[in-house]
């Protein structure tokens, strides 16, 4: 009985994280119809960002770390100068240039986009200082976790935004397979640049424990830990927030419309590009939250960015999205929990080393029996 309850609790706890990651996969798939392989790397980025920010904020025993490496400041400043400059040129000189030099001059220098990115980055820097402040004062110290979560979500949101704008947007009209390859390329890029010395390095790290991990209660021999409760609570809260955002706001309705039919949506006056960008930001932020909660739950599991374990975690989250019915937000949540439970019960009661097999066999069965997933609607191919 103890074992059963323990397994149930662990399964739900990790399942809620799968659900958070699966949401990103499902939303992107719902709109652009491709598997965003770089999504699992965004999750990793979230985990590592949480660690880095915690370090910057002073959560470590071994000496005071640098606030930021110099190269990051350099990039920030260059971008902040360049963005407005480009924007001004775009607004003033570009029409004149186009009329004199002809259509070879591009329509835009993407100045507005760079400005957005720069403002975003500075807000994050400000938040890091806030995290430092809350860490320093004893009474606000418990709040640091929240600030770090916000920074991780914001940082990954920015990363998602940049990736979408720079890599996926130019491929809007290309075959889906190309987008997929690009996603693989980005995934490789993120993994391999993440393990460079001046980023996260190749060593595993330990996430500082932002709160004391005491068992809140002991039920039938199973300790219910504070971190697990807070983690699952945060995951559920985020899912409710997303649910509200998608089903009860204008923007959410726009997302649904784009997902339903992109061309008609654009005819109805919806700015499709903005909606897609927003979807990426949202999905990446949720993945970052999952990354943060993951390292909070398992502080010793912050392995280096290129570790295959991360990729497998991401893949399982993707399976969760498919099992729940890809493109379906509630399905992703359900699928995440389902995969988590299946995995943990398989490990506890069957052969533990085959944990990946259970997940993939389930995937194949679901696809054969009910290809549209648990909650997905069967679609008829239109001729």
């Amino acid at each position: 009985m103890t074992k059963f309850l323990q397994t149930l609790m662990d399964g739900i706890s990790i399942g809620s994280l799968y659900a958070l990651i699966a949401l990103g996969y499902t939303m992107v798939y719902g709109i652009l119809r491709f598997i965003n392989f770089a999504h699992s790397d965004i999750f990793v980025l979230g985990a590592w960002l949480s660690f880095s920010v915690a370090l910057c904020a002073g959560w470590t025993a071994s000496g005071a770390p640098l606030l930021f490496p110099t190269w990051l400041w350099t990039v920030l400043i260059v971008v902040s100068v360049l963005g407005p400059l480009l924007y001004v040129v775009e607004r003033t000189a570009l029409p004149a240039l186009r009329s004199s030099l002809g259509p070879r001059v591009p329509h835009a220098l993407a100045g507005g986009f760079v400005v957005t990115a720069a403002v975003w980055a500075w807000v994050l820097v400000g938040l890091v200082f806030l995290a430092r402040a809350t860490t320093a004062s004893a009474s606000f110290r418990p709040l640091t976790g929240v600030v770090i979560l916000v920074i991780a979500m914001g940082g990954c949101g920015l990363a998602g935004y940049l990736i979408e704008r720079l890599a996926y947007k130019p491929l809007r009209a290309a075959p889906r397979l190309n987008v997929l390859i690009t996603a693989i390329g980005i995934s490789l890029f993120l993994q391999n640049s993440g393990q460079l010395k001046f980023l996260f390095g190749t060593q595993p790290q330990k996430m500082p424990e932002l709160m004391e991990n005491k068992p809140l209660a002991v039920v039938a021999g199973v300790a219910i830990n504070r971190v697990d409760v807070i983690g699952a609570g945060t995951a559920v809260a985020l899912m409710f927030a997303l649910e509200w955002l998608v089903f009860h706001t204008r923007l959410g309705r726009a997302m649904q419309a784009v997902s339903y039919n992109t061309r008609v949506a654009s005819l109805m006056g919806i700015d499709v590009d903005r909606v897609i960008s927003f979807t990426f930001v949202l999905g990446s932020a949720l993945a970052a939250a999952a990354g943060f909660l993951f390292v909070m739950k398992l502080p010793g599991a912050l392995r280096q960015p290129a570790d295959t374990g991360w990729v497998l975690l991401g893949l399982k989250a993707f399976v969760a999205a498919v099992v729940g019915g890809i493109g379906n937000i509630r399905g992703a949540m359900l699928g995440g929990l389902f995969i988590g439970l299946l995995e943990y019960f398989g490990v506890a009661y069957l052969r533990p080393e085959l944990r990946d097999v259970y997940v993939f066999v389930l995937l194949i069965i679901v696809l054969l029996v009910r290809p549209s997933g648990l909650l997905g609607k069967a679609t008829v191919e239109k001729v």
Binding site: Q6, I14, Q195, P204, K206, D307, V347
Partner: protein, 422 residues
């Protein structure tokens, strides 16, 4: 008919491309062949400590092959410098570099200096085989050092054996590596011995009798060591109460640990790398298990204490050396390593250092630097005073030497015991 001809034409074009393209890199490499300090001034009599080593990031990394002239010996090292196991490769590489620097400062061997070429194999067997081939045929190395992971040592070792170039693996402990042939030897002990050491320590020193094991089913090192420990522990009168496996890349072990908790063993044997060991230790304590934790040499890293924190305190692991040993060889090495890299060397660095020094020692004894003579000299090494103990290469080309047991105390490994070979 026409199509067949078109096809044949294309096949020929494709094949000739296949020849030309790999050949392309020949020219820039040959032309840019001036490595700092090594090739340009052969009569450089001032011992320049950094001259001997070449890292792949140097400009000279592309320039090895051509001038393996009379003035130097080139030694090859292949390791995973990127990927999941990059830290192992880097530690070993640092140890080797330190040894080369030292040997060169002392005037080299037979009047010639050493130069190191390191290639990354990304933790893949195929890359390892290609890297070793490149080291041997293009860079004309006298000997190859390499790999931590046994499966990659086997991949590279087969190439070395086939080409008749000696290979010393610093730290592959799986028994099958040296079974490839007479060119392959090692400076570390092998897993059966390590399993025996851990079992003996638990039975004789700790006087405990029940054990559970938690091992990585997808990792040859972990699965092999698990088998060896089980065997030795049962032979010594202990009882294995449960055996739990996980798959590489897993981060949450609570399901396995719950199973172990049901049996309440005296010790939990965790043959795995430190990347998991610290994490597992935390989860063990989180579940309220009080068992003693035991591990193998894969635990050896400063990161273990950092990640494991309080949870890893009081755990034991077997290792190749302890930086607290008072032997002068050890103290000397630790001091130099700290000066150069600013950190306490781990076991892999010590093994890399020993492997390189043993190679140099064998070269002074060898009749010539031909693969056969050199391998003979390496294989007849007797009582070589290495950092990781007094090394004698036995008939199976494995190193016979004692192992130490370390105990995690106050955030660092402390020397606990030495266990002699049977």
């Amino acid at each position: 008919m026409n199509r067949v001809r078109a096809f044949a034409a294309c096949a020929i074009i494709g094949l000739s491309l296949a020849i030309i393209l790999p050949g392309c890199d020949n020219s820039p490499q040959a032309s840019a062949a001036t490595s700092p300090g090594s090739g340009s001034s052969p009569t450089n009599s001032v011992p320049n400590p950094t001259a001997g080593t070449t890292t792949p990031t140097d400009a000279s990394a592309n320039s090895p092959a051509t001038e393996t002239s009379a003035d130097e010996y080139v030694v090859g090292h292949y390791a995973s410098m990127t990927g999941s196991e990059a830290t192992f490769g880097k530690s070993t590489d640092d140890g080797i570099k330190l040894a080369i620097e030292e040997i060169n400062a002392a005037g080299g061997v037979k009047g010639k200096k050493f130069r190191l070429i390191t290639y990354d194999d990304q933790g893949k067997g195929q890359e390892a085989a290609t890297a070793v081939t490149r080291l041997i045929t293009r860079d004309k190395v006298v000997a190859v050092l390499g790999e931590v992971a046994s499966s990659r040592s086997i991949a590279g070792g087969q190439v070395a054996q086939q080409n008749g170039v000696p290979m010393i693996t610093p730290s592959s402990t799986n028994a099958s590596v040296t079974e490839i042939g007479d060119m392959i030897s090692r400076v570390c002990f092998i897993d059966p011995f390590q399993g025996f050491v851990c079992a003996k320590f638990v039975r004789d020193n700790l006087k405990l009798s029940t054990a559970a094991t938690l091992y990585d089913r997808t990792q040859a090192y972990s699965a092999g060591l698990n088998d060896d420990f089980k065997k030795a522990f049962t032979e010594l009168g202990g009882k294995i109460v449960t055996e739990q496996a996980y798959a590489g890349g897993d981060a949450d072990f609570s399901a396995q640990l719950t199973n172990i908790r049901d049996k309440n063993p005296d010790v939990i044997f965790i043959p795995g790398y430190y990347t998991e060991a610290g994490n597992i230790a935390m989860q063990v304590r989180k579940l309220g298990l009080k068992s003693v934790l035991i591990g193998g040499d894969g635990w050896d890293s400063a990161k273990l204490a950092e990640i494991g924190g309080q949870a890893i305190e009081g755990a034991y692991y077997s290792n190749h050396y302890s930086d607290e040993e008072q032997r002068p060889a050890v103290q000397d090495f630790v001091k130099k390593y700290k000066e150069k890299y600013g950190a306490v060397p781990d076991g892999l660095a010590a093994l890399g250092y020993d492997a390189m020094r043993l190679l140099a020692d064998a070269m002074t004894r060898a009749k010539s630097t031909s693969g056969k003579d050199l391998a003979e000299a390496i294989n007849s090494t007797k009582d070589f005073a290495g950092v990781t103990g007094v090394i004698t290469i036995d008939a199976e080309r494995n190193a016979r030497k004692p192992a130490v047991i370390l105990k995690m105390q106050g955030g660092r490994p402390r020397y606990a015991a030495t266990i002699q070979p049977k």
